[in-house]
């Protein structure tokens, strides 16, 4: 069956659980968060939640970041302007 995983279509076995999906992706369950169709799935339910065809699944983890978007702001490229003008 097809699911949408992190924004891309992906074929997975029918009746696959979240735990099985993470195993297939070689992801450690202690290092991710999983959201299915906008619901956050608690870690202790990974073995029991069975994915359905067409489910939208997001698997997230910690990435480098300080403030705002890890990229740049969409500010115009300019140096300091004179605020007193």
């Amino acid at each position: 069956m097809e699911i949408r995983l992190n924004g891309k279509e992906r074929a997975v076995a029918n009746g696959i659980t979240i735990r099985q999906l993470l195993d297939e992706l070689k992801l450690h369950p202690l290092r991710v968060a999983v959201q299915v169709n906008l619901d956050i799935i608690k870690r202790d339910r990974y073995e029991e939640v069975v994915l359905q065809p067409g489910d939208t699944v997001e698997v997230l983890t910690f990435m480098a970041g300080g403030s705002a978007s890890p990229g740049e702001s969409r500010a115009p490229k300019q140096e300091v302007f004179d605020a007193r003008r």
């Binding site: 968060a33 997230l60 300080g66 702001s73 969409r74």
Partner: protein
Amino acid sequence: MRGGETLKIANKEFRSRLIVGTGKYPDYPTMQKALEASGVEMVTVAVRRVNLDRTQESLLDYIDLKRYTLLPNTAGCYSADEAVKYARLAREVGLSNMVKLEVIGDQRTLFPDNEELLKATKVLVKDGFIVLPYTNDDPVFAKKLEDAGAAAVMPLGAPIGSGLGIRNPHNIAIILESAKVPVIVDAGVGTASDAAIAMELGSDGVLMNTAIAGAKDPVKMAEAMRKAVEAGRLAYLAGRIPKKSYASASTTMEGMIE
């Protein structure tokens, strides 16, 4: 006087008053060395999609979780609902209920959206989170966040990544006067003296990312920031002399030859 040997946030205690972000480093090994040189015990991280094709290394391979406390942020969120969602996702990844709450209101300045920030703070506090909101240098609003249950307030010194320093030290001082929770200056620091100024004002801590990560030598700058935060804190505790317009000699005239 905002005394204390350590930085206490809710039930957690930190010896270092510096918190640094993990973004924008040239590479992870440099980040790792900079973290070490900065002496920090807490680092901020973002929550994003797992890279499924494994072409990139994982940040967590470079952060010793026994040594550093992760402070997940809601970076890139533009509404209370979105920020609450990301905070909850972060809690799932990290099994920690501490969050640096950011709700951005404008892409150009990355200034916070206060209305949404307050809303998200209330929801997350009720949900059991230790909430550290990133806010303007506005004493009235900082108080509102505190009243809403924020565990600390994080006023900006200047826009994120701008390196403009502490633009309104008087506002930070007013926030410090009335806040009963830790005040951590977040954003705006460009160089070591900015961090020292924030600490000399009596801030409980300083959070920065770009100033270190974007420096020509991030590891050296990390060390500079560690020393600046320590120096600023010491100067605050020591109590500076009042400013005067005229000189006052530090050597007596007595004993000079005629």
